[in-house]
Every structure is written in C-alpha cells, then in structure tokens.
C-alpha cells in the first residue's frame, strides 16, 4: 500500500477530486496548508510599500491506495492540477505499513 500526498493550488481541488473519482478511487483527505517553494513566496504592495507574503495558501491531499493504483493516481493528480505556471505543487508517495477501518476492524487492503 502507498500513501500519496499532493500539494496543489486550491482552485484545482475540484478538478483533482473529479479526476480521482473517475479512476475509481473512493477516499480523499484534504487539508488547507500554507508554504513556499523555490520562489519563496512573493511581494505585494500596500499603500505603495512592499510587504512579503512568505507562505502561500495551498491544499494538501492524502490518498491511501493499493500499490497497483499508484501510477494511475499520480497521473490523475498531475494531469488535473497542472497549469504549467509556477506554484503548481508537488506529489509525494510513501510506503504505507498498515491501515484499519475503524467501523468494521477490517485491515490493510480491505480497509482502503
């Protein structure tokens, strides 16, 4: 099992959700997060004076899947979240050791 985590632009969340549903994945956890990448945020002007916006708002997705779904899932996220401009985000894939569905007690493959 793998845990796929993606940091994406907030306005792309609906597109990503649809793309994930289309490939038959049923669960998704979303967190509103802030952060910066290579551009280190950006500057804005207020009454003619600059101020630094260090942390930009992003959305973090977490999806647990079977190993054989990972490639399609990552493709779906990247395809849906891509704008080609700076700040599109990143996808991380982790090994997932164990999973339990709390209601039934099912584990691992049955639980996700």
């Amino acid at each position: 099992m793998k845990l796929v985590t993606a940091i994406i632009k907030p306005f792309k969340l609906d597109d990503v959700r649809e793309a994930i549903s289309e490939i038959g994945i049923d669960g998704l956890t979303v967190t509103e997060v802030k952060g910066f990448g290579r551009q280190k945020g950006h500057t804005e002007l207020y009454r003619g004076a600059e101020y630094q916006v260090d942390f930009l708002p992003k959305v973090k997705l977490e999806v647990a899947v079977q190993d054989d779904h990972v490639e399609r899932l990552v493709e779906a996220i990247v395809g849906a979240a891509k704008t080609g401009k700076i700040g599109d985000g990143k996808v991380f894939v982790y090994d997932l050791e164990h999973a339990v569905r709390i209601r039934t007690g099912e584990t691992d493959g049955e639980a996700i």
Binding site: E44, L45, Y46, R47, G48, A49, E50, Y51
Partner: protein
C-alpha cells in the same frame, strides 16, 4: 408664493440641525475608517479614542470653545461661555429677509465640526500614542486651538489685531482649511514628536507595509464620511427656506458628490498605474481627498469642474502619502495627506471659480495663518505632554497592542490574530 417668516425660520433651523446630525455621523465614519486601517491589536483603543474625543469636543466647545470662536467683535454677540446667551429666540428683532435659525442650532452645527478636526488627529497618531495623552490634547485643541483660528476665519475677528482674513481675500466655505487642514496640522505636530510605528521604516531606508486589519470596515467608514459630507458642505449654506438658498444647497450636494467620485476614480487609476494593483485603501483616501478639495468652495464650480477638482485631490493624495513615507512621517491612515495637503489644494482652488470672494494671496495668507497657529501651538502642547506624562507607549506595549495596555480589551477576542 411667499413663505412666512416663521415657516422659514423653522425650515432653516430644521435643515441646520439635520445637517449637524449628518456631520455628527462623520464621527462614526472616521471611527470605522481608522479601525479598519489599523491592526487588530490596536482596534479597541482607536474606537475608545474616537468616542471619547467626540464627547470631549462637545463639552469643551460648550464650556469655552464656541464663545472664543464667535464671541468676539466680528462674531455674534450672544455667544457666551457655557452657552447661556444662545438659548434665546433668534427671531426677535431680526430683519425679515435675513437667513435665520435658532441660535442653539448654530452651536450644534459648529460643535460637530470641531469633533471632525480632532478625529483627523486620531488616525495619524494611531497604534502608538498613549490614550490619555491624546485625550489631554483633545481638551486643548477643541477648547482653545481650533476656536482661536476659527475666530479669525468664520468668527470674523482680526488675527491678534494685525489683519482680518475676510478683508484680505480669504474664503473657506465649509472648512478645507479651517477644519481639515487645521486638524492635519495638529496631527503633523503630534506625529513629528511621536515618531513612526516600530517596524514601519527599516534602517536601510526601506518603507515597510503594515496592512490594515479590516478593509470592509474602512470602506464602510469612507461611505459614512461621504454621506456625512452632504451635511458638512450642504449645511454650510446655512439656509434652505428660499428659492435662492434651496438652489445653492442642491448645487452644493451635487458638487460634493461629484468631487468624491472624481477623487476615488483618479486615485484608483493612479494606484493601478503606480503599483500594478488596485489599492483599495488609496481609492478610499482618494474619495475623501475629493471631498476635502471641494469643501472650500462647493457652490460655484460647475459639476465637471467639481469632478476635476476632486480628481486632482485624488491624484495629489496618492503622491502625498508616498512622499510622507519617504520623509519617514508615519501616518497609518493618510490623514495628514487627505486633510492637510489636499485641504491646502482646496483653498487654492477657490479663486478659480469664485474670484469675487477669494484671491490666491488671501488664500495663502489664510492657509499660513491657520497652519502656523495650529501647528505651532499644537507642537508646544504635544511637547509639554511628552515631558509631563509621555505620549508614546513602551516598545513592549506597542508590540502587544495598545488594546491590552490601554483598554484591557481585545476588539476580536474570539479570533486568532497575528502579531507583527
């Protein structure tokens, strides 16, 4: 149709009082504007300042301010300390063709102008001044400084027996100079002695932005001021109950509105050109600048002239705010630019449309008289307050926010706020 004297008296009095109510409501406008443009941690204190200054202005102007301003040779003889003289009937012994109203309504209309002048100061010194030093200054400005310069202008008295501004070609219809520039002059003196907010200017000369906490509130405040200004300028016609004065009132309303619109649009466009983004706070300042610019003479310009005068104010205010920042004169809400710099512009625009009443030399002399008096005496009073009780909170109190150190209350206790 002839209007009876008594009916005219009643209409003029009613109109005067209702315009006073509109100007009184400008206190709410200033309060919301300032509360929106300061940081959340300084909101309760600025609200406290604004309600307290209004109340203090009302008391001080009753005690001696009105008498100083209008009790002299050039003014109305019934003005006395504690106002006993103005409670009488204004209609008795007055010629039938004169514009008349109850004398007590004149006090009400005038007192809300004093409060306006003092409101201008509170925004400029926001976020770092001690509450009680500010209120002590309020007592002096509303009870003495403003009434003195007011006595030389609207009061008709000579300036220490030297010259009389009315004879020198000075005209300020509703107070671009007498109210707005006076308030800004007192504010400038305070800011110079107070210093800038911590973190506003870096040692390398960089100007740092300190964004306001609540722009919906600042926008509401601007609209309230815009509305209140109809009373400020419209009421300054002083009469309504004749064809002539009704026409004048309508033109004043129209021009006041036109100037605000011109100021907002020009500042918005200029901000977009200079900063690549439409800076709302500059647009709001632009609307107020348009209003200040037209206040010195809202009755003689044509509507297009009024719009252009307002637009000129809107452009000037943006450059003025940037220039004051370059000089490291920290004014969180832009009050010195809106009311002072544009107030001067308003005075200088009068001779273009009303050359019978005003000359450039007269306007400059009047502006200089008001500025030197208000700035000079204010500087001395601020300096005394600084020496006696201190005018600035400690660095730690400033960091934590003056809401807690001065009032012990947060404005938004249920929200998480960033402290920067």
């Amino acid at each position: 149709m002839e209007i009876t004297f008594e009916l005219g008296y009643a209409i003029d009095t009613f109109y005067f009082l209702m315009c006073g109510v509109l100007v009184m409501w400008m206190a709410a406008g200033f309060t919301m504007l300032e509360a929106g443009l300061v940081r959340a941690k300084n909101t309760t204190e600025i609200l406290t300042k604004n309600v307290a200054l209004y109340a203090i202005a009302c008391i001080m102007y009753m005690v001696c301010g009105y008498w100083i301003m209008y009790g002299g040779d050039g003014g109305i003889s019934t003005a006395t300390p504690f106002l006993e003289g103005i409670l009488s009937d204004g209609a008795t012994g007055v010629a039938e063709d004169a514009a008349t109203y109850a004398p007590a309504s004149d006090f009400f209309f005038q007192v809300v102008f004093v409060a306006t002048a003092m409101s201008i100061v509170s925004g400029a010194v926001a976020e770092r001044m001690k509450l009680w030093a500010f209120l002590a200054f309020t007592v002096v400005l509303t009870g003495f400084i403003y009434p003195m310069s007011g006595s030389w202008t609207w009061g008709g008295d000579s300036v220490f027996g030297l010259y009389t501004l009315g004879d020198m070609g000075f005209s300020d219809f509703a107070g671009s100079g007498i109210v707005h520039m006076a308030g800004a002059s007192a504010a400038l003196a305070g800011v110079l002695l107070l210093g800038s907010r911590k973190g506003k200017y870096s040692e390398d000369g960089k100007v740092n932005a300190i964004p306001g906490a609540n722009l919906p509130m600042a926008t509401l405040g601007t609209f309230i001021l815009w509305m209140g200004w109809f009373g400020f300028n419209g009421g300054s016609v002083l009469a309504l109950a004749s064809v002539e004065s009704a026409n004048a009132v309508a033109v004043v309303f129209l021009n006041t509105n036109a100037a605000a619109a011109g100021g907002l649009v020009s500042a918005l466009i200029l901000a977009r050109i200079l900063f690549k983004k439409a800076d709302l706070t500059m647009a709001l300042n632009g609307a107020l600048a348009g209003l200040v610019a037209i206040t010195a003479e809202p009755s003689t310009p044509s509507p297009i002239q009024a719009t252009l005068f307002g637009a000129l104010g809107g452009i000037l205010v943006v450059f003025s705010i940037l220039a004051f920042d370059k000089l490291k004169i920290d004014d969180p809400v832009g009050a010195i630019s809106v009311h002072g710099v544009v107030g001067l512009l308003g005075l200088l625009l009068v001779p273009f449309t009303n050359p019978e009443a005003a000359t450039f030399s007269g306007q400059l002399l009047g502006a200089a008289t008001i500025f030197i008096w208000v700035f000079g005496i204010s500087f001395i009073v601020w300096a005394i307050l600084k020496a006696v009780m201190g005018i600035r909170v400690t660095e730690e109190e400033e960091f934590e926010g003056v809401d807690m150190s001065e009032c012990g209350l947060e404005a938004y206790p249920d929200f998480t706020i960033s402290r920067n």
